[in-house]
Amino acid sequence: MDNKNISIIHPRPSSIVAALYTLRDLNVDVAILHGPPGCSFKHARLLEEDGIHVVTTALDESGFVFGGHDALVNILHKVNDMFHPKLIGVVGTCASMIIGEEMHEPVMEANLDVPVIEVEVHAGYRNNTKGVLFALESALDAGIIDREEFKRQQHLLEEATNVELRHGAASKEYLAPSRGDVKYKVAQRIIELLKEGKRGITIMNAKKETGYMFADITLAVNEVAEQLGKADNIINMANIDQNLGLPRVRHHAECIMKDFEEKGLKVHEIIGGLDEYPITGTTIDQLIQEKYSDYDFAVITGVPHAIPMDHLSDMEIISVTNGPRQVLPLKELGHEHVLVEIDLHPKTLGVNHIVESEFGATLREVAKESL
């Protein structure tokens, strides 16, 4: 692909952060950042909200010069005493990796009765999915996952990278962040479509825990359709297969499904697992071609840019993303309405129920007014 060599200048999450999230999905209780105190702060904080302990060896100037061997040994003992973890992750950073810190020796020296996943990673990789890969490789070495799951994850990663290159945040040298279209107007449009008797598909193609909020949009569309007496006009697709993915990811799928069932929402098509958002495209495309090609509109949430336009192009598309840099590529793909759920991710950490989305709330409000 010719955009593989472009030099992307907008800021983006690092491989270190990607490794941290992967360790979380592997259910580590403690993640130790071996590096400077402020490294990856924002995400470290978010992960604490998600229930894992994140600590740092806090390498200072003297640590850079003399190395952080002792600091790492000490913190391993400390977290073991403080948190009694069942699984620990140690994550490299630019600072420690550049000076050639060896993380295995301190882990051996600390000699804890707890398995430790060591991830040699820094922030300088072009694709931050490298951080995920390194974490998974280390988990494989440590016997935390089996080779089959590793292969599956590796494939998903490659596809995720391709999705971003094709139409995502890695598709252009610079993508300006945007807040997308006005939610109120788009809500009105959906109600209008339903009132006209148009038929629509909701496609939730969410990345892991972000599903907790994107699922709310599926709920809202169905609620409103029901209020308008058009419940049967909506078909629901969602990537919430409960048997796929790392344990934590499967658990999210179970929780979301339970909430759907409680609200009486029927998911007509399960299009994959919550970590399969980069590969659901083909399934979705095929389903639409076979069964739903004459539908009038689609509400696509999560990672809408992973879904091919082949059999969607005749529909009016409303897509909802949590990436402000995703608006432009989605418009270019031909999505009429693109909405951004600002700051979605933090609200989906540490929860096990569907959380209200801004667009879902708007849709419900607008529906009330128009009844």
Partner: protein, 264 residues
């Protein structure tokens, strides 16, 4: 006396930078100059022969211990009042020596008043300039001129030539080439030619003599331990030449082929 010499001696590892630096420092002190030697090598061996074989605490040792470093903690008077400083650094194979040099140099700059009062400051750096940290004294504006030490052998000349290329890149003038002999054939001729071709000149030809090593073994410079030796006179002459030197050039490095021709 109104001199303000700030020099660094570069050259291939093990070629004799530290022993030349300490002998020049001692010789200048003999002449009554206020001299400081700053060892920028984690091995901290630049000032040993000025201190009767003793080691001094290094700046980085103290910073590591969290000491609020003062001038008197890190500057030690050696032979004839030569002020000796060692930057220090991690054990080989651990941490980052380059960052260490940067931090230590910045600390020294901040705490030391005497830095400005010196007639001559010699920065003694390690042979391999592996990264930016090792040229920190230059980059932070502390070194004004460089000398390059080499023998007439191919590899030291190759290294010297590379260093000249590097100096030009970071805009640091070269004040001269010093030959520290390894007793190879046509040595003086080769190094003289090399110096001329890169646009500079040969400042001194220091013979290879056992007495340098004997004095070093006892923990002294030649100037202190064997002041009447032939080689002591050569160091003195070099010291005077350095103090009087007022020309320097941006060196033009030779291409590989020319360098090889020169040594054949």
């Amino acid at each position: 006396m109104n001199v303000h010499k700030r020099i660094a001696i570069y050259g291939k590892g093990g070629i004799g930078k530290s022993s030349t630096a300490s002998n020049v420092a001692a010789a200048c002190a003999d002449e009554g100059y206020k001299v400081m030697i700053i060892g920028c090598d984690p091995k901290s061996d630049s000032s040993i022969t000025l201190l009767g074989g003793k080691r001094i605490p290094t700046i980085l040792d103290l910073l590591r211990d969290g000491v609020d470093v003062k001038e008197e903690d890190v500057i030690f008077k050696g032979y004839k009042g030569v002020q000796c400083v060692e930057v220090g650094g991690p054990e080989p194979g651990i941490g980052c020596a380059g960052r260490g040099i940067i931090v230590a140099i910045q600390t020294l700059k901040k705490i030391s008043k005497s830095l400005n009062e010196m007639d001559l400051i010699i920065y003694d750096v390690p042979g391999d300039i592996v990264c930016g940290g090792f040229v920190a004294p230059i980059r932070k504006g502390l070194v004004k001129e460089a000398y390059v030490l080499t023998s007439g052998e191919y590899m030291p000349l190759y290294a010297a030539n590379n260093i000249c290329r590097g100096l030009a890149k970071i805009n640091t003038p070269l004040s001269g080439i010093i030959c520290n002999s390894r007793s190879v054939s046509r040595e003086e001729e080769i190094v003289t030619k090399f110096a001329a071709e890169i646009g500079s000149e040969l400042m001194a030809f220091i013979p290879k003599e056992q007495i340098v090593q004997d004095c070093e073994r006892d923990g002294f410079s030649v100037i202190e331990k064997a002041p009447d030796s032939n080689i002591a006179q050569i160091y003195r002459k070099l010291a005077r030449a350095i103090m009087e030197r007022d020309t320097s050039v941006m060196p033009k490095a030779l291409d590989d082929e020319r360098l090889r021709e020169l040594t054949r």
